[in-house]
Amino acid sequence: MSTSDAAVRERLTRALHERGEEIADRWVELQMEQALLDTDIGEAELREEADALIEALVPGLRSGVPVDRVVTSTPGLHEAVVGLSLRRARAGATPTATSLAVLALKEALLKAVQRDTRDAEELFASAVFMNRLLDVAGALSFETYVEGREEIIRRQSQQLMEQSTPVVRLWRQVLAVPLIGTLDTARTQVVMENLLQAIQDHEALVAIVDITGVPTVDTAVAQHLMQTVNAVRLMGADCVISGVRPSIAQTIAQLGIDLSTILTRATLADALAAAIKLIDGPGPDGDEGDGR
């Protein structure tokens, strides 16, 4: 088997050398035919990927590493497959289309080998070898694709968390945080950091935390709100919780949570009025009546 293994490697290496262009063309063609890609990846880019991967295959075949480890342990080859899969993932191709695209290389390669030999035994040995070589590439591609997607999801949820907690200046020395969605430990941390920094930057005296967009206020959410209020107070500012809807008020009371030490208001408008009373000043920038 090892002599035939060497022979097959030799034959493939020769085919890659002599017919590299042809193989790349055929592979790109096959991928376009599959029409599974349905993305913005153009022919030029496919061609570039194909050239890079085919070039990286040669040192892999020469390395003498067992066939099922060639793709994973040849640095250039591994990177080529990973890079290709990540690009597909970002371009929105399906995982099936991505691994099928990689597996289409088998057909292109076998076609090139067929041009050199018609010997059935040799062709069979080459086909078996290529299957074992490239099935690993297909699996790696699938795995990378999933990882790529997960990475995108992680980044998006982080972005969402930061985007959805803006601190806005409502009035001179009055800041507001409109909370949307749930308030878990991680979210509280982001809100608190943003808010405390903004209090310092704007020399704010009142911070309004609006919970109109928080669907459920349970004891954990209440606890996070209290922590935020405490932190704001340590900064020397006052904190008003607004957006306490009737259903939320009843539920909090029944849960037995005591928010009596915290200034709460039903609406953001009420909270702003309370805040202005607290700072007990004229309009913004000392200019009464100027609504900026």
């Binding site: 669907p215 539920t251 029944q254």
Partner: protein
């Protein structure tokens, strides 16, 4: 970010509660509570279920909040568990929603203490279990040291 619970919420929320009277109640459904995100899924599912069962806004909030407390207890103290939703019907015709929150954790050693406001072993506020009891109409707990905990709560519609 499409959570299963969100789509359910949207589709069920669109139905008219009044029409639900004549329909057969949905089959019981069980949700896992293994991660913080699962709590979100449970809340969405319970919110959709309260709409399905025909609760008003205040009762919806009560039941979702109770579910949130109990599911978090199972997650934090019980090391994870499950929440099952059922739609019982009283002989008198009142419809309801029953939550069964189960975990295989260490169990509650002193149930009376755990139901006391302000009692906590996990750094929370200590209002979760007692609060959930006040928010619901019926409340039973089966627990013991090393036996895990099963909390069954039911709320009936006022009509």
């Amino acid at each position: 970010m499409a959570l299963p619970g969100e789509s359910t919420l949207a589709s069920r929320g669109a139905k008219r509660p009044g029409r639900a009277e004549t329909r057969r109640p949905p089959a019981p459904a069980t949700y896992p509570v293994r991660t913080e995100e699962d709590l979100l899924t449970v809340r969405h599912a319970v919110r959709a279920a309260t709409v399905e069962a025909g609760f008003g806004l205040v009762d919806q909030t009560r039941v979702v909040t109770a579910a949130s407390e109990l599911a978090r207890n199972a997650y934090v103290h019980g090391g994870g568990g499950t929440v099952t939703l059922e739609y019982p019907r009283e002989p008198g015709g009142r419809r309801g929603l029953r939550l069964t929150v189960k975990d295989e954790g260490p169990g509650i050693a002193d149930l009376d203490a755990a139901l006391t406001d302000g009692f906590t072993t996990g750094g929370g506020l200590g209002h979760g279990l007692g609060g959930a009891r006040r928010l619901m109409d019926e409340f039973t707990v089966r627990t013991g040291p090393g036996e895990g905990t099963v909390v069954v709560v039911t709320r009936w519609t006022s009509r």
